[in-house]
Structures are given as C-alpha cells and as structure tokens.
Symmetry: C2
Subunit: 357 residues, 2 copies
C-alpha cells in the first residue's frame, strides 16, 4: 500500500486569509481559534476568500472486535449491528448532530459480525465489507495481511467515492463495541505509552471491566510494540478492519486535498496510522474535540493538533467532529462575508488618537 506524497494546503491562499483577517471589522486576532480555523480551511480550499462548505460528509465505519467477547465493554457486540440500523433510520446521535450542522451521514459495514447473506443492509453499506469482526487482539492478530490491504483500499475507495460525489469536507466516525481497546493499543504502541496511560472507560465499564481491559491492552501491546515502525503490521496485529479503513480514508482525503475534522480516540488512532502511511496528511485535518479517553489526548499531542471542543464527550460515531462543524463553517463565513474596515467605513486601530490620559 503506497500513498502518493502529500502536498500541503495552499500557502498562497493561507497568506491571503491571514492578510484578510487584518482587514475585517474586528480587532486583529479577536476571534481567536476561529481565525486560525478559517485560515486553515482557506488554505485547504486553495482560494481566498473561502466558500462555506456545501457538502460535508460523515462516514461511520462500523466493525466488531473479537476482544468485545472478553469483558472489556459495557455493551454486547450485537449493538454494533443494531446501531447500523439506527444510523440508517436516522436515530443515532450523529444523525441528529449532523442535521443541525448540515452534514450527511453514511454508514459502512467494514467488519460487523453479522451474516452478509441474511443480515445485509443496502449495497452502499455492505459493499466494502472485509470480514465478520476482527480478531481478539490480546490472543491473535486482528486481520491477515491481505485483509489489511483490503480494508485500507476500502477506506481509500470510500474517500474517493465521497469526494467524487461532491463532498468538500470529510468526517470519519467509528461504531464498534470494543473498539477503544485496539485504539488504545495502537496509540500506546505509536507513542511509547504504558497500558495504564491509554486505558479509558470506553462506553462506561466498571472497575473489574477496567482491569480486564488494561490486561488485554497489555497483552496486545506486547505483540504490537515490536512492530511500531511498520504501520501495516501494526494494523494486522492490533488494529481492526474498521480502523484500517478509517486510516485509508483519512490518508486519501489528504491525497484528494479535502479537509477533514477528526473525531475521538478511535479515529485518532486511525489518524496516527494514516500519518505514518502518508506523512503530512495531518495538515489536512482539524481536531474537532478532545474526548475523555486518555489515549485521545496522547494521539492529539502526537499529531500536534489542538482540539476545537473539550466537552467531555466519549461517544464516537463522528459526534465530536460534527459538533465542531458549525464552528468551522463560522470560521469560513467570517472570511467570506464580514465587511472590511474600508467597506464599512470603520476606523482601524491605526486611526487611534494619541492618548490624553
């Protein structure tokens, strides 16, 4: 799997957006992070002033994990498949948030543990399916080498499909009972962290569950740690088909020069892998939020991304990224629509009188 080398967002548009901010009717820098986000989005679009994003697209990557049968989650694996149905009928949190934010939601079954013959959804959901669940990573590999490539390819293809259909901003979301365990292992491996530094409560496990999860992370990490310089081997050993597909999706978004808002810890782990596979891809990403999962903070630091929101969220599905989308739209529209000092006949700071007091 070889990604083309990533070119950065447009530096000329970046400079023009910085200069334009100085002309808008507000004190320079007074919109804080919104100014930085607007500059980033302008650079990604490649022209200043930027335009509002017209087709933000969320793709939820659903997959089960063998580890879920070993007491690391508060929920049974069946919930993954049930939630795919919930996404399709519009009842999940990300559907509601996306409706407010003006984004569309697509769900893809990458590795849900259900029978394609009897439980399959529409082709848009199932056509990229790699397998039924990924291996229990504290005991065995998550995937075969061939499945890693197949999952990455699925993510690349999905990114291409969405960009070709007109998506101008992409968000990856995760759905999979047990998926914070492989995410924590991947983050621990790539940041050189210990199990206790990455383990979190996930969907809300109790103390015995937390101990089982920490032990599972420890066992999987023992197998993954030696492979830290080989992202494909890492995905095979301690990842999952959904996570590999997200990594392909995030890397391909950068190849296609399409900005991404990142979600929480599972997407964060996939993003770290994508940055390994396609160095520089992170320039095309903004961090939507900081989740309460400890591994997410490590992932954000590793990627050198500062989250927009910090609301104690820990749901996944892309929800934290979608929650940040209106702020990204505001950031873009400020550059696109605000009056300049000249337009509005407003005196700038250079016109300040000499102090008299």
């Amino acid at each position: 799997m070889q990604f083309p080398s990533i070119t950065p967002p447009d530096q000329q548009a970046h400079r023009e957006a910085v200069a334009r901010h100085e002309q808008l009717t507000k004190p320079p820098g007074s919109l804080g992070r919104l100014e930085e986000l607007g500059v980033w989005a302008t650079a990604c679009q490649g022209a200043c002033p930027p335009h509002p994003f017209v087709r933000p697209q969320v793709v939820v990557f659903a997959g089960d994990h063998g580890i879920a049968a070993h007491g690391v989650s508060a929920y049974p694996s069946e919930v993954t498949q049930q939630m795919v149905g919930n996404f399709l009928s519009g009842g999940a949190a990300v559907n509601v948030l996306a409706a407010v934010a003006g984004a569309s939601v697509r769900v893809v079954d990458v590795a849900v543990d259900c029978d394609p013959a009897t439980d399959a959804g529409p082709p848009l959901v199932t056509r990229h399916k790699v397998r039924r669940g990924s291996g229990a990573i504290h005991l065995q590999d998550a995937l075969t080498d061939a499945e890693v490539i197949q999952a990455l390819d699925a993510g690349v293809t999905i990114a291409d499909e969405e960009v070709d259909r007109g998506a101008d901003l992409l968000i990856a979301g995760d759905m999979g009972i047990g998926n914070t365990t492989p995410a924590a292992v991947l983050v621990a491996a790539l940041t050189g962290s210990e199990p206790v530094a990455v383990v979190g409560r996930g969907t809300g496990i109790d103390d015995p569950g937390w101990m089982r999860k920490t032990a599972a992370i420890r066992d999987a990490l023992r197998r993954a740690r030696p492979l830290v310089s080989d992202p494909l081997a890492l995905m095979r050993t301690a990842g999952g088909a959904d996570i590999a597909a997200m990594a392909g999706f995030l890397a391909q978004a950068a190849v296609r020069r399409t900005p991404v808002i990142l979600d929480g810890v599972v997407v964060g782990a996939a993003a770290m892998l994508a940055e390994e596979l396609a160095p520089g891809a992170r320039q095309w990403w903004a961090a939507g939020h900081r989740s309460v999962e400890p591994a997410h903070t490590l992932a954000l630091e590793h990627l050198e991304l500062t989250p927009i929101l910090d609301l104690g969220m820990r749901l996944g599905e892309g929800s934290g990224a979608v929650a940040a989308l209106p702020l990204v739209q505001m950031a873009v529209r400020v550059l696109a629509e605000m009056a300049t000092f000249a337009d509005a006949g407003v005196a700038g700071p250079a016109g300040a009188p000499l102090p008299t007091g």
Copy 2:
C-alpha cells in the same frame, strides 16, 4: 428598581430530561456537556422532550465610555457608532456567526456618543438611548442615579419586547470602545480582586496602554469598592448605560423564564450585576465561552458557570455566545430526536453478557 423574585427552571422537566438521556441510544453520559446543556434547556422550556429553539435573538447593546479618550483602547470612540452601522448592514462578525447559528441580531444605541438629531438610526435602534457616552469612570461617575434606572428599564423593556415578539432564547452582546475597562472595574469590585488581576488587552492595547488601563481601573476601583453591596450605586459609579441596560435585560430574561447564553467579559460584568439585582437569575443562563480577558474567568467563577467554548475569543458583540448556539441546539435536538433503545431495538448496557475473558 425591584425585580420580582426569580423562580428556577422547571425541576420536573429537568428530571424527565435526565431520565430520557438514559433511554437514548448512546452510553449514559457519553455526550458529556451536551447532555447537561440539553437538560438545562429542557428545564428552561418546562417540558420534556424539548423543542429546538425557533427564534434565538441577539441584542447588541452599544454605548461609549468616557474612559476611551484616555488611552485605554487601541481604537477611537467613533468606531462604536461606525460599528452600529456595520451591524445594521450585516457586516460585523456577530451577523455572520448568527446567520450560521440561525439567530437574529438587533442593535440598540444605549449610549453611543453621537448626535441623535443628525446621526440617529431607525427607531428600533435609538428609542432606548439614555445619553451620549457614559462618564470617564476614573474621574467621575458613569451615570446619574436617574440614568441608572433609565438604562435598567431600557434593558427590561428590550427583553420584554423580544420575548413578546417570540424570542425563545436571548443573547446579549456589547459594542463600545473602552467598555472592558468598566467591566474589569465591576468584576474587581464584586470579586474583591486587584486591578492587575482583572486588566486585559481588550481590543489589543500595547504595553503603555495596558499601564494606563491598569491605572484607570485602580482609580475607578477606589471609588467603586465601598459600594460593592449596592449594585445600583456600582453601576452609577463605575458602570455605563450599556452595561446597566444589559443587566436589566439579563435579569428580565430570567423573570420571563427565557434562557440566555452569556458572552464575554462585558456581558459577564452585567450578569454579575443582574444576579445581584435578581438573585437566582443565573439559573437561566449558560456561559457560551471563556474569553481571554482575565476578568471574565473571575466573573464565570463567581457566577458558578462553566463555559461551553474556550477558543481564545475576545471580540464581544455576543460573538462567543452565538458561536456556542449550535451546540445548544444540538443538545436540545438530541433529547428531541434521538431514538431510544426501545425504539431502535438496540440492547442497552443491562444486556451485556457476562465477561468470559
């Protein structure tokens, strides 16, 4: 000036919203702050499930401050009037953010230093005008006793006008060159803080300006400190007509059982006064953001409100509150629109299998 006693948001609706969150297809608590905000909004609306806010209204209170002629701001006072025109033509930051968030913006000239005969705007803007600028508070009172009452009444009347026109969520914004100086003095007086603990860069003053501003805060605070138990006297001595009007507006919103999203330091100072005048009003307010002005953090701590956003903003105009509005709408719509476990046929955490690993 006597406000009716404030009744809290509906506790039955609050309990129902908490219970409903447990039934929605997500792990309990996994939406973090969004869950709390949804519960708060439901209690304010008085019925569960809540409905999306259909007419959020921003009111920008414009007023000049005599202190601005004494070198405490990077901008000349004329900018206040010029910006009123910019709000009316839709070119200011808050106009753009409100368009994204689905809010309307009204600007009111409470104390702009312009001639009502020649420079007046439409009646909706000018009919509540109290005076041309407020006094230079390091040297003299900001207002007379009668003007304090007139300004508070203006704020009350504006809140009533907006609620009567159908507004179901209110946001106060500030516009006034020099207004962070009285705001800092008021916060210092009400929290027992020193000038260096409350002084900020405002629109972006340089180091000599910062020193002048700190000295002005010190001088005004010397006059204001003895009056800390008398909010009307505090407004007269160290406030301003715009700030007093905002205090009346925020208190009256609570009287009218209409929720408010608070903005930055100037609104924060007005909110502290409103809470003094109408104890319990703060239960009707959410803090939209934390500005970089140090006095704002003190005000939020005093009001025991946790900001939704922390984006390094320092513009005023209501911009930080409007930036948070989509998150409040998301919080409400989650409760209104998400599927329950029963609706969606999704297994809850009680259905988790016994751990086998």
